[in-house]
């Protein structure tokens, strides 16, 4: 191995270690047969069992799932439309308007949504306000993914559909939608993972009622970092990981198929 190769490898290993060792420790201690996160005693599944008996944690998980599903559904619907609009109408201001909430500091978004809900809409904070808030910051992500997919596609495919007798609606249903579907699904999965573990915006918009998973975890570790927290974190990590991998593979496979077509056209 050459000198520069060794450097490159060590840098890579260190970076990945930095990224994954903390996560690995969380996973490891979720199986540790000890109440303290200090030393390894032995393997157990008891923390996962304890989780099943923790009614408040289960309620928080259920609430978070409902929020993530509703928010990702509405964000996907609106974000897909936004992505299509940005692609079709070459208005320069449109993408800026849609993508800005993605880059905006979460705390800012949280505060402004809180004020908006309380002072403008006069809404009682709860599940509905959280769903609306999560939808807001997920729309941009979906729009970015859908638009990226459209940009890689040959525009004449859509013209061809019209040319061969399809109405605008038929063109959308039979050609556009199937072609952007991988991006739509990827956007939905992305929104789900963003929503289920969001803390800052949820914190500002949740009100006092229902327990929400990330907030619940935070409340628990304020008392003590029990292995139960490790267990719920591990489960959350697993869910997120599966969804992200799925989203990536979907996009990669779909673009591989359309790319080969684009190349032939050149």
């Amino acid at each position: 191995m050459s000198r520069s190769n060794i450097w490159l490898w060590s840098a890579a290993v260190l970076t990945y270690a930095f990224l994954y060792i903390p996560l690995a420790i969380v996973v490891l201690y979720s199986f540790n047969d000890s109440k303290l996160n200090a030393e390894w005693v032995g393997f157990t599944l008891s923390w996962y069992k304890a989780l099943l008996n923790n009614t408040e944690m289960l309620a928080a998980a259920r609430n978070s799932l409902i929020i993530a599903l509703s928010a990702s559904f509405s964000a996907t619907l609106l974000g897909t439309m936004a992505g299509l609009a940005i692609h079709r109408y070459k208005l320069k201001v449109l993408p800026v308007l849609v993508f800005t909430p993605v880059a905006m500091p979460e705390i800012l978004l949280g505060v402004s949504l809180l004020l908006f809900f309380l002072q403008v809409l006069n809404l009682t904070l709860g599940m509905v306000s959280i769903i609306i808030a999560h939808t807001t910051f997920c729309i941009g992500f979906v729009a970015i993914i859908v638009r990226a997919r459209l940009q890689g596609m040959d525009e004449s495919i859509f013209e061809a559909a019209r040319d061969l007798g399809a109405s605008p609606w038929q063109t959308f249903r039979l050609v556009t939608l199937p072609l952007i579907m991988p991006a739509v699904v990827a956007g939905a999965l992305m929104s789900f993972t963003l929503s289920i573990d969001d803390f800052v915006i949820t914190f500002f918009t949740k009100g006092v009622g229902e327990p929400i998973l990330p907030i619940q975890i935070y409340t628990m570790i304020k008392v003590a970092v029990t292995p139960e927290v490790n267990a719920i974190s591990t489960l959350l990590m697993l869910l997120t990981l599966v969804m992200i991998i799925f989203a990536f593979r979907l996009e990669a496979r779909a673009s591989a198929r359309t790319m080969s077509l684009d190349e032939a056209g050149k």
Partner: protein, 361 residues
């Protein structure tokens, strides 16, 4: 009555006029080509026929009905796109079935017609493949089949052979001619490749800067270009400034500055005193040793300036005594011989009295 009649169509974009008051009529069963350099308006015109773009003024009549305002899906016109535009998520059979489904044909009819279409483009067993599993030529054939399967009144082809390599391109040209002949469907073909236009078309409209310069059969476009643009765009041609000194129905006598008298083909539109150019195709010019007998009317001496050997023929660029250049084509029919003349050789060039043409300024 013409199948397609384009009447005074103009299309302006913000800073230029893409199509400028163009009128063209295409007969039923014709293979009609719009030929011109990029930016000449040929694709804009095609898109207006298909319905993807609307003229600012003028009419586009199909079978006597104005199509302007009719959306693309309602026009009995299909397009073969430069990029093929096959639907990547559908099989070949579903791609070809698409226009039939949109037209509301029964499943039995669709199945039969798709089978026929696949046979006609020699891809009988390709129905279940996806576009990304096909080669360029195969995609091209599927695109033809999809465009033709519902028997449109008119098939528009937007540089469909542009992405193919030279050999495949020639094969597809022959297939295209045969398909058109068999089905009798009217083709409007857009290309910037003049050799392709000459080989395929019944008639060609040569376009330049949004205008139609000439509409004629390929041989007439080549032999009797109406102006300098057409002469220059189609094939190779040498031009020299000339002045008409005698005009008869069967011949013209021209004066080329510092060279002398040149005889050219008669042209009714030309009168004595006109200024313009004498134009001559390289294959009409003979090149010989300077001592050779001048048995053609137009005979001049010059010197080989350069030559281009391309295998079957060699093009010699000869500098005449007045400093202008003329190209002469020599077929390499003598075996084993690479060149007949070298750069700097004194040569004679000659051409028939009716081979050159005069083009007004």
């Amino acid at each position: 009555m013409a199948l397609l009649e384009i009447r005074n169509v103009t299309r302006r974009f913000s800073n230029y006029t893409a199509v400028d008051n163009v009128s063209v009529s295409v007969k039923a069963g014709e293979f009609f080509t719009l030929l011109g350099p990029s930016g000449c308006g040929k694709t804009t015109l095609l898109r207006m026929i298909a319905g993807f773009d609307l003229p600012d003024s003028g009419q586009i009549l199909l079978d006597g009905t104005d199509m302007v305002g009719t959306p693309p899906e309602k026009r009995p016109v299909h397009t073969v796109f430069q990029t093929y535009a096959l639907f990547p998520h559908m099989t070949v059979a579903d791609n070809i079935a698409f226009p039939l489904k949109m037209a509301g044909k029964t499943p039995q009819e669709i199945k039969a017609r798709v089978g026929e279409a696949l046979d006609s483009v020699r891809l009988p067993n390709f129905g279940s493949r996806f576009p990304h599993e096909l080669s360029g030529g195969q995609k091209q054939r599927v695109a033809f089949a999809r465009g033709l399967v519902n028997r449109p009144r008119l098939l528009l082809l937007d540089e469909p052979l542009g992405a193919l390599d030279a050999k495949l391109r020639e094969e597809m040209q022959i297939e295209l001619i045969n398909l058109q002949k068999e089905l009798g469907i009217t083709f409007v073909f857009v290309t910037h490749a003049q050799d392709e236009a000459l080989a395929l078309s019944h008639r060609i409209a040569v376009m330049n800067r949004g205008n139609v310069e000439q509409i004629d059969e390929p041989s007439r476009i080549y032999s009797f270009p109406r102006n300098r643009f057409v002469a220059d765009f189609i094939g190779k041609i040498s031009m020299m400034n000339a002045h008409v000194v005698e005009a008869a129905p069967s011949y013209l006598k021209l004066d080329v500055k510092d060279l002398g008298e040149v005889m050219a083909a008669g042209n009714a539109g030309v009168k004595v005193g006109d200024n313009g150019v004498m134009a001559i195709r390289p294959e009409q010019v003979r090149i010989s040793h300077p001592s050779g007998e001048p048995h053609l009317k137009n005979h001049f001496l010059g010197k080989v300036h350069d030559f281009l050997y391309v295998g079957d023929v060699t093009t010699y660029i000869v500098e005449l005594s007045n400093g202008t250049y003329i190209e002469a084509l020599l077929p390499n029919s003598a075996p084993g011989r690479a060149t007949f003349f070298e750069v700097g050789d004194q040569v004679g060039v000659s051409w028939r009295h009716d081979a050159g043409i005069f083009l007004n300024d």
